[in-house]
Point group: C2
Amino acid sequence: ASNKSLLILPGDGIGPEAMGEVRRIVNWMEDNRAVSFDIDEDLVGGSSIDAHGIPVTDEVVEKAMNVDAVLLGAVGGPKWDNLDFSIKPERGLLRLRKDLELFANLRPAVCFDALVDASSLKPELVSGLDIMIVRELTGGVYFGEPRGIEDLGNGIRRGVNTQVYTTPEIQRVARVAFELAKKRDNRVCSSEKANVMESGVLWREEVQKIHDTEFPEVELSHMYADAAAMELVRKPKQFDVIVTDNLFGDILSDCAAMLTGSLGMLPSASLGDVDDSGRRKALYEPVHGSAPDISGKNIANPIATILSYAMALRYSFDMGTEADLVETAVQKVLASGIRTGDIMSAGMTQVSTTEMGNAIIREL
Amino acid sequence: ASNKSLLILPGDGIGPEAMGEVRRIVNWMEDNRAVSFDIDEDLVGGSSIDAHGIPVTDEVVEKAMNVDAVLLGAVGGPKWDNLDFSIKPERGLLRLRKDLELFANLRPAVCFDALVDASSLKPELVSGLDIMIVRELTGGVYFGEPRGIEDLGNGIRRGVNTQVYTTPEIQRVARVAFELAKKRDNRVCSSEKANVMESGVLWREEVQKIHDTEFPEVELSHMYADAAAMELVRKPKQFDVIVTDNLFGDILSDCAAMLTGSLGMLPSASLGDVDDSGRRKALYEPVHGSAPDISGKNIANPIATILSYAMALRYSFDMGTEADLVETAVQKVLASGIRTGDIMSAGMTQVSTTEMGNAIIREL
Ligand SMILES: CC(C)[C@H](C(=O)O)[C@@H](O)C(=O)O
Ligand SMILES: CC(C)[C@H](C(=O)O)[C@@H](O)C(=O)O
């Protein structure tokens, strides 16, 4: 048996369909590259609610803790929209991120050459675009206490959340950003609202300190989050690595992903610290959501999930050659004009989810 | 003496230059339309820090409380960037918003026909674009307590801010959004992160209640803030009125403004409640910032500030005819091909700040 372990959590909506295509590529790797994993599959999100009443069970969290990598599809859908906040599908994903301490969320916003025209931006502004957003993922307003809704009497209620960061939390994610920048274009832009929020002042100071003491050779700039949203729209190619907190990262990374026109193509990695045994906890998932409106129709684009698997090969299993194989196959399929509906354009060939999987396996 | 009072706060950067052109139009109105104001002018932001050591004095706040409308240029610049958080230029603006209780910030994101090509988006996606963002302006994480940076010992610090909304705060801004929608395309999209934040859950519930009980005839939808950022980029014309909180509104309105390509053209209004004397406190300012890099060069675009004055004429002084005059003059100038540098394109005539003012006065 192999000692490489992978937990697959297909989740909801188009998650299972996309993950089906990943399974076929995993099988291909086993047959053709003698690459075998101990694979387990389980539930998260709405599918876990339906089976167990909660969006993730302790057992699944325990499994996730003990594998080399988790591969997740997507969570959520209208079926579970009216559930109480505390048991919604999203809380399964949030608990996994928190319990595994996956503090660094890497979200590449890359414009695929073949898809330049799918962007809503003018082609010259996005062609060749390659931004890496490093989003803090286990802190900030997502997890801060106190939180909740309290009754003030007289029919008046009050909703509270807390934005909170400690210096070690800021430092460790800043280091991830600077390390990445060194392997890329050597530039980091840190984003917050230090003009309005003290937590942003602290963020700015600590990122600057880590820069000055540990990475003086990397170019560092600071930009308020509202200005960053503007600049992403105005001139996205000015950015290399962007490092920001959980909430701003949520919004800015989605904005950047949509700019590329390649939303259905974008994977992400959520990484923890390296533990004593040299293993780094990691979860890989597409940037896109569960797209309930097109789920079950075999029309979803499986590429972002497939590329998330490729990211897992590269970062968790040190299998760069195999990751390259998958990424090259995807590029060739795109170059040959094969498209799922979301990235379809005139003159191309529209295919289903499984046909896209077939095409990629053919190129492998 | 007239009983119409206006306080002009030019502020920093390009604020004074832009406001100079407004003053000329105010004079033109006095000479040609017998429209006279009691006008006072004072300091805010960096210019107030330089003169008084604080970004706004009690005296100026007092003046602002007692006029019919405040017209503000812009605040901030690198000169004051390293000042302590509590006395930065921005705090002058934030104090004015808070003390005057200007809870509803109206930010139109309109694409001017003559400027369609200035957008980074494809022309067909923005031509005719007309979104009204209603941003809550006196609550949320901007003003919530507790806040600050505390020392935890061992060189570790902790930065905290509090996101907080009460039901009456949500209700009053929701009403403004629904009222506006009725005069427009009758659609409101409310945005928060109810999947992650309890304050967002409360926001969603209260907006829905105000809709169901007071504005059932308006179409209401809800969208997470990250999805809203994506949808703004993907297909901005799907929106009519967007209502959202202070922080999300800051980011989404800047993103929307930049989409139009008309950033240098966009005014905004910040409105309070109607008081016993029937007066609604109001502050008007351009959406753009103080642009320190181009200030003092007589090249800034004064139109957003001029249109902010037109908004004041319309909303605070019930002078729709005069507002129309100004807006039409601006449109004619654009149609004639006259442009400041920020909106310049091939075949047009590039002019300075004062020349743009001249051209608009000529059209009046
Ligand atoms: C599903 C949701 C909780 C999540 C988030 O807000 O982090 C998603 O938007 C994301 O960006 O991964
Ligand atoms: C200057 C700054 C405090 C302000 C804000 O964050 O509200 C600005 O960005 C705005 O949107 O008016």
